[in-house]
């Protein structure tokens, strides 16, 4: 199980990966605050993600929430030493309140039984469906709730 130093290096690795492979995360100025099996926290300043009403652009909210959930799955797969791709199939976002400052997306996942079942399906069939939630947090409370359906695809599988 990863300790604090590994979590820090996982966060650095994830941020570099996002910035290199998904250039829009650079334009959004996405930072990885935490990246471990149980929790990923991504942040982005308001300025590059602002809209016409001086609050966070809904597209940036959607992108950051999606990235947080996707990143948590990637961190877990890497932790398990599994080469699998993570693809989004469906997402729903409830926008409860405008984000008026820094954007912060949190994805938490601690259901190890559900994870083990997904990994077993991935092994057996080369693919597994998994639902993950994330949220945008403001000092005043939750501004948006994301629910995503992802598919894990074995990188070597025939799908």
């Amino acid at each position: 199980m990863a300790g604090a130093p590994d979590d820090a290096s996982a966060a650095v690795e994830l941020e570099q990966y996002l910035r290199t492979r998904i250039p829009l995360t650079g334009a959004m100025q996405v930072r990885v605050r935490e990246a471990c099996r149980a929790r990923v926290v991504l942040a982005a300043p308001l300025a590059p993600n602002i809209n016409h009403q001086r609050t966070a652009f809904g597209g940036s909210v959607a992108a950051l929430a999606t990235l947080a959930a996707w990143s948590l799955l990637r961190v877990r797969l890497r932790g398990d030493g599994r080469a699998a791709n993570v693809v989004i199939r469906r997402s729903t976002i409830d926008y409860a309140a405008a984000v008026t400052g820094e954007l912060m997306a949190i994805c938490e996942f601690s259901d190890e039984d559900r994870w083990s079942e997904a990994i077993a399906r991935l092994r057996a069939r080369g693919r597994a469906r998994l639902e993950v939630e994330s949220r945008l947090e403001e000092p005043a409370g939750t501004a948006a709730r994301f629910h995503g359906v992802f598919v894990l695809l074995d990188a070597g599988a025939d799908h």
Copy 2:
């Protein structure tokens, strides 16, 4: 009813508005291809919106689909001379296939009865809920379907 020249100037105005007020649309290189009451078409090249698998980043797909729907409502409100804000409340996206080239989001709306009812509610109550759909089109077919719940808020209303 707007003719072709007005539609062209509406497209130019919308693109300038997006680029000025929502800076991420500049990073995404969003272009307004069409902007009239019945249809908004937005496009963006793959390069600034690419992901680690060399297809379109899900966050860019979500952002462009959201913008297309939001833009159609803005075009209609401006056409009616109404000063109202358009706020997203809920969105669902089904990702059917990867986008492998230019991103193109299309929002079509032709239900004038539903529009008139929304405008009547906006007049009477200062706010009105409206559901709008958009889609990401690829040469091979529809790559993603967006369903959004928006709220129109009278700019001068007490809400």
